[in-house]
């Protein structure tokens, strides 16, 4: 099916579907805008207004969790502290320093973002459980300061008399008006958080969540992304806290304890951590439910804890996740027409005769084990250079050192004349080093298109920086590997052979001068292997330099210009396929020595 027919055939029904979808969205928007106007029309109990005010301000903080936990996959158990920073800054700023609300709010956001920035920096050293502990420590220290620094924070007595802000000269003293204001802030935040995954940053965050190493190797500056995620999360927490303080006029340390952080976490998880709608839904549910179940007050918190376990076991993607999946099954996504696609552009002039890659006396020792023991290899531009050797000979270690996943114990890695020995993987990607993994590291929950776009967004990629240029680049790369019609499929649902192609496409979209392939044929059947050989030959025709590890000798012979053979961490032979595969040392290394009579 050619691209043109795909486009033409789909355009008619697409237009019709587009119109219906647009009408639906408009209707929902009108409903949403009307919602906060209800209390002006119908008499609502002030207690109910308070409940919703709590729900709305909490939801803003929970949306911060959506960014850091849902999008970026980092555990965070201290959101109440950021909520508290916002609240206390507004309280103290307006009452003690005499600032107006907006200035105090800004100050609170800045302070919280700074704290979030520092917290994000700790992820350079810690992850997983340790990160959880760091966030808890942060929360507990904040709590202690709130309770004990009585001179500033008034301690357990709290602060009362916090005033409402003025908007366009009109003070929002009326609860209904203030609630409406908060709801619109929430809508704005929901929109922002909803739009984030469609941006470079949002995609990078999801890449970090899905597979941090693959993200790093594809050019995502993972530390920067995590720091930004924590800063944004903190900022939103502060906004929520500020609104909360002005809303309720009274705050005390109790409102910002570890317990509240856990509530934020549970709301995020219950609603669905990866969607802002889920976050809002979870918040509303967990605030309203206890009110309705107040007769169960004694045990509802206990049930709360039980619910967290059950959610993790049975519905880890939350309510919104379940709803979206059911919706997807009822109305499956038909492949979107992407319009005509540009041909894949990747050409390197072959005039430069310097080697693209130089491994100079590279060594990598693990304790006493010399996995790589002094390797010297030059890879000529525009060639396919293979690295082979029996199991345990040091091939993957060499590739990992090349890539920046390991730092070499000694030696240098020079790519295109630049010494990249001490750089991190994403910096190397920025210099045109692309890589695939033996056991395929894609971003499983993202579509093929999104996966490839992440490769395209590597620093210094010689294409336009706009979102549409990234998309076009990704589409033409997918077309080049023959998967254009799978562009919108979630990669984890693709068959293995196609996943391999997506991984290669992801590297290609980054215009690599040097493409590192780690056992690209692993797990492929004969047909798929032949297709891979054809692809590699086409790539060679474009002037890309390829450095690959493989065990399938048949494949290597067909594509390689030169082969280096490793054994016990040293190079034992190098040359053309013919020379190398007849070499007695090589045969001995692979098939083993014959048994000699004991001397």
């Amino acid at each position: 099916m050619t691209i043109q027919t795909l486009a033409a055939g789909a355009s008619a029904s697409t237009a019709a579907r587009g119109f219906r979808a647009g009408a639906l969205v408009l209707l929902l928007l009108l409903l949403a805008a009307a919602l906060p106007l209800i209390p002006f029309v119908v008499k609502v109990n002030p207690y109910i207004l308070n409940i919703f005010m709590q729900a709305v301000t909490y939801a803003v903080a929970v949306l911060g969790m959506t960014i850091v936990l849902g999008y970026t996959g980092q555990i965070h158990l201290g959101q109440a502290a950021f909520f508290g920073i916002g609240a206390y800054t507004v309280a103290l700023g307006t009452l003690v320093l005499g600032l107006n609300f907006w200035l105090a709010l800004l100050l609170g956001v800045v302070l919280a973002s700074l704290a979030g920035f520092i917290l994000g920096l700790t992820t350079l050293r810690v992850g997983g459980h340790y990160l959880a502990m760091v966030t808890i420590s942060f929360q507990v220290i904040f709590d202690l300061i709130l309770t004990n620094w009585i001179a500033v924070t008034r301690g357990p007595d709290g602060i009362s008399g916090i005033g409402r802000p003025s908007l366009f000269g009109y003070t929002l003293a009326d609860d209904k008006a203030y609630l409406m204001f908060c709801v619109f802030v929430l809508y704005l935040v929901i929109f922002g958080v909803w739009w984030l995954p469609k941006t470079r940053l949002g995609r990078a965050m999801q890449a970090v969540r899905e597979n941090e190493m693959a993200a790093e190797v594809s050019g995502v500056a993972t530390l920067v992304v995590k720091v930004v995620a924590f800063s944004l999360c903190a900022a939103l927490g502060a906004v929520g806290g500020a609104l909360y303080a002005a809303g309720f006029a009274y705050i005390s340390p109790d409102n910002f304890s570890f317990k509240i952080s856990i509530e934020f976490l549970t709301m995020t998880l219950l609603g669905g951590s990866q969607s802002p709608f889920g976050g809002a839904l979870g918040t509303v549910l967990l605030i309203l439910l206890p009110e309705w179940l107040r007769f169960l007050k004694e045990i509802y918190m206990a049930a709360y804890g039980l619910a967290v376990i059950l959610i993790m076991v049975f519905m880890p993607e939350g309510i919104w996740g379940i709803v979206s999946r059911a919706w997807r099954r009822l109305r499956p996504l038909r492949p979107l027409a992407h319009g005509p696609v540009e041909p894949f552009k990747l050409d390197f002039p072959l005039t430069d005769t310097a080697p693209v890659l130089q491994l100079v006396n590279v060594q990598k020792h693990f304790g006493g084990v010399r996995a790589v023991d002094g390797i010297n290899i030059n890879v000529a531009r525009g060639t396919v250079h293979a690295l082979i050797g029996p199991n345990g000979s040091g091939k993957t270690t060499t590739l990992n050192v090349l890539n920046g996943i390991y730092r070499p114990t000694a030696g240098q890695i020079i790519v295109d004349g630049k010494d990249l020995t001490h750089t991190s993987p994403h910096v190397r990607a920025g210099h045109g080093v692309g890589r695939t993994f033996q056991n395929i590291r894609l971003f499983p929950a993202l579509s093929a298109l999104e996966n490839v776009m992440i490769g395209a967004q590597r620093a210094h990629n010689p294409i336009e920086r706009s979102e549409s240029a990234l998309r076009r680049r990704a589409l033409s790369t997918l077309d080049f590997v023959g998967l254009l019609d799978r562009a919108d499929r979630v990669v984890r649902s693709l068959p293995y052979g196609h996943q391999r192609l997506v991984e290669i496409a992801r590297s290609l979209a980054g215009s690599p001068t040097l493409l590192l392939l780690d056992e690209p044929a692993a797990g492929l059947n004969q047909t798929e292997k032949q297709e891979l050989v054809t692809l590699l030959k086409r790539l060679r025709g474009h002037g890309i330099t390829i450095f690959l590890i493989e065990h399938d000798m048949g494949l290597i012979v067909q594509v390689s210009d030169r082969i280096s053979v490793l054994n016990f961490g040293r190079k034992i032979a190098e040359g053309t396929p013919d020379e190398v595969l007849r070499h007695p040392d090589v045969i001995a290394a692979y098939l083993g020595e014959s048994v000699h009579a004991a001397a």
Binding site: G73, S137, I141, T147, I262, A302, G305, I309, G367
Partner: protein, 294 residues
């Protein structure tokens, strides 16, 4: 009180409180080594043990030693339930759902106890009626002496059990290489259940010992757990000796910190020390930098 006596006093009480942290930290480390799970509900085992003792002594009016044995027996049952309800369903998932699940268990345990006992902290009897005795200007509280003695016995027992019994070796093997343990025929699921039972009992023991000093309250477990976790990291994550040393060190630092620096911020020392270690020497005092294998 002379300066030396004061410092010795601080050292003594610091070691005693630290010993309690060590007991909880030991439970932490054993679970981590066997299952790779950080159990955020570990401290609540202490809380439940303490409440169990309170019930047996005040409501059921049992003699101390009987109550003690029954409370520990209750903790072993608890460990079994915890293993099957919280760990087992999630044993093959990544660490995030498991952490959150143990957090959920913690909330559940605290609020279930709240529902049954109410929010008021309860006093718990000391083991011996005598308040203690004085030696060289230092007052040795009898409960602190009991804590140190019992911790010593527990550590000795643990050492003997793990180093000199076959079952202890099987537990060690399970925590070193689970799949290989299966291949030699060790019933790994049972070993893990046993680990949880043992950890729960250690936790309960810690609660019973520190209860008379701290007052038994719903939140006592959370604070102890966080400090025990800090102790684990400081001592060397995953190292048994490290957990013990880390706990004692932390107790002493807190004791001196409260006296010389500030009382209300006493709890902060644990976390500040934790942050310092995490950022400067994440492998702790005894941990080794594990070099990545090819």
């Amino acid at each position: 009180m002379s300066n030396l006596s004061l410092n010795l006093q601080l050292l003594f009480s610091g070691l005693a409180v630290g010993a309690v942290y060590s007991l909880v930290a030991l439970g932490f480390v054993l679970i981590i080594r066997a299952t790779n799970v950080v159990n955020f509900a570990q401290g609540d085992f202490a809380m439940i043990g303490a409440f169990a003792m309170v019930t047996m002594l005040t409501a059921l009016k049992l003699p101390y030693w009987l109550a003690f044995v029954l409370a520990l027996a209750l903790m072993t049952v608890f460990g079994v339930i915890f293993n099957y309800a919280v760990y087992y369903p999630l044993r093959n998932r990544s660490f995030l759902p498991v952490i959150i699940s143990t957090l959920g268990a913690s909330i559940f345990m605290q609020n279930a106890v709240l529902g049954i006992f109410g929010p008021q902290p309860r006093p718990l009897e000391k083991v011996f009626k005598t308040p203690g005795f004085e030696v060289a200007g230092v007052f040795l509280d009898s409960q602190y002496l009991v804590i140190l003695a019992v911790t010593l016995i527990a550590v000795a027992f643990q050492y003997f059990f793990f180093e000199h019994t076959l079952l202890g070796k099987k537990l060690q093997a399970t925590s070193q290489d689970k799949d290989m343990a299966r291949l030699v025929g060790i019933p790994v699921a049972w070993m893990i259940a046993l680990t949880f039972v043992y950890s729960a009992t250690l936790g309960g023991l810690a609660g019973i010992l520190i209860g008379p000093v701290l007052f038994v309250s719903i939140g006592m477990g959370s604070t102890i757990a966080l400090k025990a976790f800090s102790a684990t990291v400081i001592g060397g994550f995953g190292d048994v000796t490290g957990a013990i040393v880390g706990g004692l060190l932390l107790g002493v630092v807190e004791s001196f910190g409260a006296a010389y620096i500030s009382v209300p911020y006493k709890d902060a020392f644990a976390f500040l020390l934790l942050l310092v270690f995490l950022l400067i020497r994440p492998q702790g005092i005894f941990g080794e930098k594990i070099s990545e294998k090819a």
